[in-house]
């Protein structure tokens, strides 16, 4: 079985292997034809139970650039609407000779559940509040490309840590490289015992000061109704990356965001356009990283034997 379910269980060596390969894949992206035969004959299926543009398109393009046969299942028009269970959907995909399934689901652990019940490779494209491993890998790739290393850095993660699979994957991945990680956000959005894995800052200024990297997270506005945050305006003032906070951030600090961005809530348009903002670059790097993951998950000599 060859899966990418999360970064918590992945070794440092495996992460480096993916990042190194992604570097090669990026050269393919830069070429005119953007086509390699690596996945020729493989059937790659995307199954997204949540809306997504960038992750889904990124995976599909990655598979297509590598000559895979790709199919995208839209849950809105699939048998799920007839009440088909996930287990039955998995069995159907197996019978349809799927080689790789890329899955996103609002429940934590769904890729693990599928992996336990199928013979094909499973790639986690985001599961509930658990992990979003390829997002963290592309963040790490971007950091390494810009700063030349992913080791011994000071990294701040800002925003909704509680609900963020991006934050978790980044914490698990970056922790393996001796980085100093700090988190900050409203107390309602800081999960218990996170101090076992990261420092918890007491102010935004403290969180971002002296950092090599600031990863800003997307806030879901429906959290307001559930009592986690009070208003967009208040969030922006106390937790947003705005011009005021830029006084505490040096010109060389990378400003990252997994997107899509709520402009004027988590981050201002002006900050997004700074030269040290990597938001658009992250999207491009995402394809290279996903090409690398797809390649490794379909090889016998791959990381998940």
């Amino acid at each position: 079985m060859k899966h990418l379910l999360g970064l918590r269980e992945l070794s440092k060596e495996d992460i480096i292997k993916i990042l190194n390969l992604a570097k090669d894949m990026k050269t393919i992206l830069k070429s005119e034809t953007k086509k390699t035969p690596h996945l020729q004959g493989y059937s790659v299926v995307t199954l997204f139970y949540e809306n997504s543009t960038r992750t889904r398109t990124s995976f599909e393009l990655a598979a297509k650039f590598m000559s895979a046969n790709t199919t995208s299942i839209s849950v809105q028009t699939s048998s799920v609407q007839k009440g088909e269970s996930l287990l039955d959907t998995v069995k159907t995909l197996e019978a349809l000779k799927t080689d790789v399934l890329i899955v996103r689901h609002s429940f934590s652990g769904v890729p693990h559940f599928i992996a336990k019940n199928c013979s094909f490779s499973v790639i986690n494209a985001g599961d509930g509040m658990n992990e979003h491993p390829t997002q963290a890998l592309l963040d790490m790739f971007t950091i390494r490309e810009r700063l030349g290393t992913i080791e011994k850095l000071k990294i701040a993660i800002i925003g909704d840590i509680l609900h963020s699979r991006v934050a978790r994957s980044n914490i698990w991945g970056l922790s393996k490289f001796d980085n100093q990680i700090t988190v900050f956000g409203p107390q309602t959005l800081i999960p218990p015992y996170i101090e076992n894995f990261a420092e918890v800052a007491s102010s935004l200024e403290e969180a971002v000061s002296g950092k090599d990297v600031v990863i800003d997270l997307r806030i879901q506005l429906e959290r307001q109704k559930r009592g986690f945050i009070t208003s967009k305006q208040e969030y922006y003032k106390f937790y947003g990356l705005n011009e005021g906070i830029m006084r505490y951030i040096s010109g060389s600090t990378l400003i990252m965001h997994p997107g899509p961005v709520n402009r004027g809530v988590e981050i201002s348009s002006e900050v997004m356009q700074l030269p040290n903002s990597t938001i658009d670059e992250q999207v491009t790097n995402g394809i290279a990283v996903r090409m690398a993951v797809l390649y490794l998950c379909t090889r016998k000599e791959g990381i998940y034997r």
């Binding site: 918590r8 269970s85 996930l86 287990l87 689901h105 429940f107 934590s108 652990g109 769904v110 693990h112 559940f113 019940n117 599961d127 509930g128 509040m129 658990n130 992990e131 699979r165 978790r168 999960p191 218990p192 015992y193 996170i194 076992n196 894995f197």
Partner: protein, 430 residues
Amino acid sequence: MILIKNAQLVNSIHDKAEKVDILIVDDKIEKIGKNIEENPDKMIIIDASGKYVMPSFTDIHCHLREPGFEYKEDIKSGSRSAVAGGFTTICCMPNTNPPIDNRAMVAYIKYRAREVSPIEVLPVGAITKGLSGEELAEIGFMKEEGAIAISDDGKCVMNANIMRNALLYSKDFSIPVISHCEDTNLSEGGQINLGHVSTITGLRGIPREAESIIVARDILLAKETKAHLHITHVSTKESVRLIKMAKEWGVNVTADTCPHYISLTEEEVLGFNTNAKVNPPLRTQEDVEALIEGLKEGVIDCISTDHAPHHKDEKNVEFNLAASGTIGFETAFSVLFTYLVEKNGFELGKVVELLNQNPRKVIGLPPNVIREGQKANLVIVDLKKKWEVREENIVSKSKNSVFLGKLLTSYVETVIYNGKILKKDGVLNC
């Protein structure tokens, strides 16, 4: 006639285990003594050398799923599972379909049990009609028909006024109110304990206060009404503390916890193991220790299994959609022996009390003791046997045990109820 030879007899913590022979004639214990004469032509002789004999167990909290969910379990299969674990009196919760919330349903359970169960099945009636938490069920009629307690188990009576009235009303019928303590505003959407593991897995957490806030509320209501409140499946150290305080106040409160809460922690969920999804959720080592201490001190009166069978299709699903609960009859004694006696120095007699005298006291049943002239309700246990919990050896219709793959010490080999051998040398005979 049955003659049990050379068994170490343990009735309670006050007993010194002594080697005796026990002669059973019809449904009663005729004689206990040394070297009772054997007569192989007229009696079944069970050699219990090196084994222990103790009163069979009583479970005040289980789910038999009949009527409505017979694909998970039914009164017959549940009773057989209970026998396999050494239980001969079991109290089934009312969250069936339809629920046990009226006298006809209580009568139905009693009738079915008489028909298909080899052991005593005592129904628990609902506190509120339809388990809705809104209108009191006919508690008097249900008691008259044979309900031994009332509970909306699986659901918390969130309306404090209804709970207060239930406690007040129950006094007229001397029936305990078994409370499932869970503030559903706090637990809503939660899958596991809120803590280290929920942070790691991204599964939504249930704070411990969801339980202890209602424990505190119900204690205060019981204090005021002077009714008998029984708090079931206690899982947090704060709850233990509150119950201890209530007992010191003189509140008429009793409590139980389950084998899984005194042996396992939230770590079992890692890897998204749905068999470890139970309600209340598995907590932390600190809670496990507090519960064990609570049992030691008598703050927690007894053990219940909360035997909660679910079909494979309800467990082999996404963690969020998986049903909560683990089966419990067949592993209860072995878990208690392994985790309380072996690991925490409990006396065997204490475990016997937790599974027999104490739960019977909670629901007002006379004690079951192995004494001349008493009914022959007993088990023979091999305390040295080590066994791995495996699906293929489970008697229950459902195989959703949180203990699958765990190695346990001690095994209930033989079960006798009212003089009938229901299990012998590990083989069921019912």
